[in-house]
Amino acid sequence: MITEIITGLFTKYALVGAIGIVALIMIISYGLAGTIGQRRMGSAIAIVIALTLAYFAGKYTGKTHGMADIPIFAGMGLLGGSMLRDYAIISTAFGVKIDNLKKAGLPGTVSLLLGVTFSFVVGSIIAVLLGYNNPVDIATIGGGAVTFIVGPVTGSALGASSEVIALSIAAGVVKSVLTMIITPIIAPIIKLNNPTTAMVYGGLIGTTSGVAGGLAATNEKLIPYGAMTATFYTGLGSLLCPSIGFIIVRAIFG
């Protein structure tokens, strides 16, 4: 009887249930991140946990929508769907000052354009090398190499399959986690020790959580400079990858 009531609640209040589950995932992830002294890795850990849960859910149901295919977790489909995702992403542009854009100046602008282009091209080339030949798939994986947001934004704009979208998220998560780990190691080699380099670094790498986490482990004073350019990166990627990026990919492989 008790399980029946609980199942009924999760089905009836699907979205609220999903919010509760995500809150639980987040508290565990940030707790884990705190114990290893890297609180900024919390979001990356949460995403990895979510991908892991989606993996087991997929194995269990044999279907394609991860946890959302289990009736009591169906709310995940709504909370993590493209409607709320795009709505929330757009809101993050609030607080961006045009003056800050200007302050980042020439190196910031060049690094942003080059950073998005470079990651997109590298991701696309690797997708092609590993046997993907549909322009939509190539552009989606290329977008994933930009960030774990740009991949799904590109993929859902172009109608990619959930499998390819999941790959693009995974590529973005690899980038984010790798950035946090190797930034402190590579910092002396690339002379990451002043505001200008930090802005260029933020613009080239662009994954906000990775950049903030990596700089926190390198030199905390550099965080705002790196984050300033990095915050434009996902927006620029969301603008360029599904449009110009896809058109170029389609022209080559279409």
Binding site: M67, I89, V122, S156, I165, A166, I169, L204
Partner: protein, 128 residues
């Protein structure tokens, strides 16, 4: 009021998505091409325009927008939980290769572009 903030973002989303879908139709792709990016651009332009006029959004309006942006990571977590990870895992090499090479490659571009910045600063110093 908080709902005004949510409404402003909604307006930007619809404007951007309208243009994105129109662009998609023009290009013969069924989809929203760059609509999210354009919506972000509208939000930046709108807020900067009002701030420039000295009429920044009220604190409660801002709270509405900030509530949404604070939900961004949790929503991404939910999004990750509903992906077809089983299939992705089977072809997972591409994720590691694409993410890894893009990261390491980008890192080594840093000193090249940073040089551009210091050249610029040097020029300015000389001009001064």
């Amino acid at each position: 009021m908080e709902i005004y903030g949510l409404g402003i973002v909604a307006l930007c989303m619809f404007l951007g998505s309208f243009l994105g879908n129109a662009l998609g139709k023009l290009l013969g792709i069924s989809g929203n091409v760059g609509g999210v990016g354009m919506a972000m651009l509208f939000l930046v332009l709108l807020t900067n325009y009002y701030e420039g006029k000295g009429k920044a959004f009220s604190e409660r309006t801002q709270k509405g927008i900030l509530l949404l942006s604070s939900l961004y990571i949790p929503i991404i977590v939910a999004m990750a939980a509903r992906q077809n990870v089983v299939a992705a895992f089977e072809g997972g090499v591409v994720a590691f290769a694409a993410g890894g090479v893009a990261t390491v490659g980008s890192m080594f571009l840093v000193p090249l572009i940073a040089k551009l910045g210091s050249d610029e600063e040097n020029k300015e110093e000389k001009n001064n």
